[in-house]
Point group: C2
């Protein structure tokens, strides 16, 4: 390319050089007859100056924000330096100025501090993406993707593609369907994950597979969900849990070093699902801060407190230096606890004035002393059954960390959550669901057969700073165990045959032990770039109602297209 | 991992070592009491031997083809060596044998020379993919993908993802549609290519983009087409044709060296569309052989031949040493010519017995001499209008090269086809179509405005050995030119607004000059692995009627799913 430099490269050392630059006009201003132009590209900004006696001066006067221009010129030392940017010591005196493309006034300001509404930003995404902060999200995404892939390739994994036009196998989320033109009334489905395909790669003997895979779920969207998302899909044969875990640790260590220059220590901590739930009230604990949950049931056994009467458990956590919380703040926390299925929130404070709190009239000094509080501590207590009390305290814990800034965004705490229950029982539907998916290997198939409720899975999630960034398991590689699993989930033989027949078949011709994991790429990028909006790390995202604001998709289509697909639109 | 070696690694140097292997049983046989097992993994085969007095002998007797086993043992020198495989000098005497997975007799033979029907192979794709030849196609695909990507990353291109759920913008091929659940009667479309998105990345200032992108076309399939295919999608700003071409040449040189250890010479030859058509009768000439087409119209001006009367052109080509072709063979070629819109096929031979051929009764020696034939040459002639005669001779040329083995599969001849017509006129519909796509920059917008038929495009295809492996262009970056283009294609303002409104809008806020190219990954892998079946290079392909034989997709879906999508199936 003919250009000599990017717009972040020139500094004092280049003074006197002839350079050739291009980019967008960030802004242009006329100061005492001189035209100053801030020229922007994806790397940075360089200041251009055009003097009144220059042949291109008239042209320069016409230039406005977002014009695309080329500049030839000489590097000069600036009079008033701007040491906030790398090129702030110099400016370019123009010898030739060419307008490549004019620009109308854009409907939003192209700068990091733009105050455009999200609707405007999504409609004019191509302008929103010009903002350096947005470019950085996607450039980091690129770098993260390359770093992850490089470890997998080095470790002998093959990057293999699987179809987007697959088969609908409804379990869990809703499929996106694609009507077939050649077979009336038949549909393809977009994959919720390449799960079956990747297991078939193992059956086929590839041994090590990965893919940066697009996945699709037609679910009602939450703030951090999109209809299509990207996962780093990994599967290997002849391995056990620790092989997969070491691989993922290697990927994370390399990626954090390469992209953020952050040293992450491996191996990561391992924690059972049970410990995570009981100590942190969640299966994705944020370990950047303590705030452990404890069981206070025994402590309250002999204290008569109406709020706790008839409750199986009393669980609680101590927030050091939390005694300063106001009544109003505590009311808000109480609200949060109830929203998360907690029965109620009680508290005990120790200040220089002694103990106080919502249980004061039921407690004496001896009772209080048994909590071993330090001055300025506050103890929160939630009565209820085990799961609900823990859930509520888990949510409270996150909220408190947020209020008291306990979580350093530059501290990355990974943890493996292991020993998952294999199944969940749905009391309403009176049936079991797979906690991960129906291909997960039970720790002991006998327990699955005899006492499904007690069955554990060879499954593991990887959690970073309170977010699940990946999940995986060792898979069932034995046809009989797979059949048992389907049966336990309440699928009839016919169901199984219709939906998974080919897959159960595949297991009988020599299937190696295998397992894997899928990393949520979007979420990893979010955590590594410190944004909480998933749309920031996706170039062309959908709104929360699954709409593309820029393209206006979904849209109506020609009648003839529907006819070819043998479809009619009903109500 | 606990295993010590792959199954291609052990040789004479390892004799005496204790090793730990795993894999599939290729075959197992009992010879004079000894059990011999060929153990296979994705790398190769190792011979295992179990003696009758060994503790695992009974187990070994039970082992059949495609069992998955683990073996601990000692490397011994073999008595009867097999020098055809890397491990043929040794065998492993078993100390421990573990069956990881049993196997029923598979419905097809798992070996390169399997004679299973394609239907069987597709139904049991996971077994078909166990065959080393099939594994190799996908492993080469992996390597080719990595090699291509590495050049792009090194050149500063960002790998950026674009949506699969997009908007239907029918021009050219038919879209796959995805019904929306939230908006009754509205549909997403799967992308035929990320064309618009990649241009928007340029509008957004990313400057260098690529993606290994899934693309979709709901067209009637030919042998080398699939409903979904993969392209290496590339776009850059502030560049011209030669920048893109150099980049692609760098990619090809690197990829052929890295994957095949073949030296490809760059820069590649450039040839105008006109020259390609007139000399090779195709826009994707195979340059591994000559067989140039020439114009014989003038030569026949003064010879009265009924077959040529009233025809505008007589075109022909000389096949050296082709005089041995039989009458029957020539009849078949004549058939081919007519199938390819040629009016007729005439021929002239020169053998030791003199001139002969289908025009003999109209020709004298003087006429014959003017062709400058060598002994054993055959000259084929096709009369007709320019395009049809050239087309027919283009097809004849390929067929002759095939019959006479003129094309060395290990010779890779790249050529750029340039100077494309911008538009094609459809006589029936009385309208223009874009020869590439409607975003292609005309060489001169004035010509497009005044005389569209004569307009040339800044477009370039890259052709390898007779196959188009990629195509691209410099794009329109000016809103007015884009509007002119749409108008020339017969789109009303309303059409444009409805389908491309946001895109035409985008062009007005400062769009850099830009262009790019898309490489057909499937086809590149086919050419580099010397297969002519596109299904070989796709892990889970569809049949020619767009069916997944293994999964049985497309399939019927629950009534409730259709109801949620507001759809009814008609006839």
């Amino acid at each position: 390319m003919k250009y000599t430099h990017h717009n972040n490269e020139l500094n004092f050392k280049h003074v006197g050089e002839h350079v050739y630059l291009k980019g967008w006009v960030q802004k242009s201003r006329n100061l005492g007859g001189l035209v100053f132009i801030d020229l922007r590209d994806r790397f940075g900004i360089t200041q251009i100056v055009v003097k009144p006696d220059h042949k291109d001066y008239e042209k320069a006067l016409k230039i406005r924000s977002e014009f695309v221009i080329e500049v030839k010129g000489v590097v000069l030392e600036r009079e008033s330096k701007n040491l906030n940017i790398p090129t702030g010591e110099i400016e370019i005196e123009v010898t030739d100025l060419i307008i490549l493309s004019a620009a109308e006034t854009p409907p939003m300001t192209v700068s990091n501090d733009s105050d455009a509404l999200e609707e405007t930003r999504l409609k004019y995404r191509y302008l929103d993406l010009r903002r350096p902060v947005m470019q950085n999200y996607l450039i980091q995404r690129h770098k993260i993707t390359q770093a992850i892939r490089s470890v997998l390739v080095d470790e002998g994994f093959y990057e293999l593609e699987t179809p987007i036009l697959g088969k609908s196998t409804p379990e869990g989320a809703r499929d996106y369907l694609v009507p077939s033109r050649l077979y009336a009334g038949h549909f393809y489905a977009l994959p919720q994950s390449p799960q079956i395909y990747k297991q078939l790669f193992m059956v086929a003997g590839f041994e090590k597979y990965f893919q940066i895979a697009k996945c699709f779920r037609d679910e009602d969207l939450r703030a951090d969900r999109q209809p299509e998302f990207t996962q780093v899909d990994i599967e290997a044969s002849f391995i056990d849990e620790s092989d997969i875990q070491s691989l993922i640790e290697k990927i994370m260590v390399h990626t954090f070093k390469k992209v953020l220059d952050v040293e992450v220590k491996a191996p990561f901590r391992k924690m059972s699902y049970k410990e995570a739930m009981e100590t942190y009230g969640t299966d994705k604990p944020d370990l950047r801060y303590e705030l452990h949950i404890s069981d206070y049931t025994d402590t309250f056994k002999d204290i008569d407190i109406p709020l706790f009467n008839g409750k199986t458990y009393v669980k609680g956590l101590v927030l050091p230096n939390g005694a300063s919380l106001s009544r109003k703040q505590i009311d808000q926390l109480s609200h949060l606890v109830k929203k998360n299925h907690g029965d109620a929130l009680a508290f005990i404070k120790l200040t220089s004035e002694g103990y106080s709190g919502s249980l004061n009239k039921f407690m004496n000094d001896e009772h209080y002393a048994s909590f071993n509080l330090n001055e300025q501590d506050i103890l929160f207590l939630v009565p209820g059954d085990n799961d609900n009390a823990l859930n509520a305290l888990g949510a409270l814990r996150v909220e408190l960390a947020d209020m008291f800034n306990l979580a350093d965004p530059n501290n990355y705490q990974f943890v493996w959550i292991t020993e998952w229950p294999l199944l969940e029982y749905d009391e309403e539907e009176k049936r079991y669901y797979a906690k991960h998916h129906p291909f997960t290997q039970p720790n002991d198939p006998k327990v699955l057969a005899e006492n499904p409720k007690e069955a554990y899975a060879k499954a593991y999630d990887i959690v970073l700073n309170g977010y699940e960034i990946g999940g995986g398991s060792i898979r069932i590689h034995n046809q009989e165990v797979q059949k048992l699993m389907f049966k336990t989930l309440g699928l009839t033989d016919e169901d199984v045959k219709h939906r998974f027949g080919f897959f159960v078949d595949a297991l009988k011709y020599g299937t190696p032990p295998h397992g894997g994991l899928a990393l949520g790429l979007d979420r990893i990028v979010m955590l590594m770039t410190h944004t909480s909006n998933i749309k920031d790390v996706i170039a062309f995202p959908k709104t929360q109602s699954a709409k593309d604001q820029m393209m206006q998709a979904p849209s109506d289509v020609d009648e003839i297209q529907l006819k070819e697909l043998h479809l009619k639109v009903g109500e």
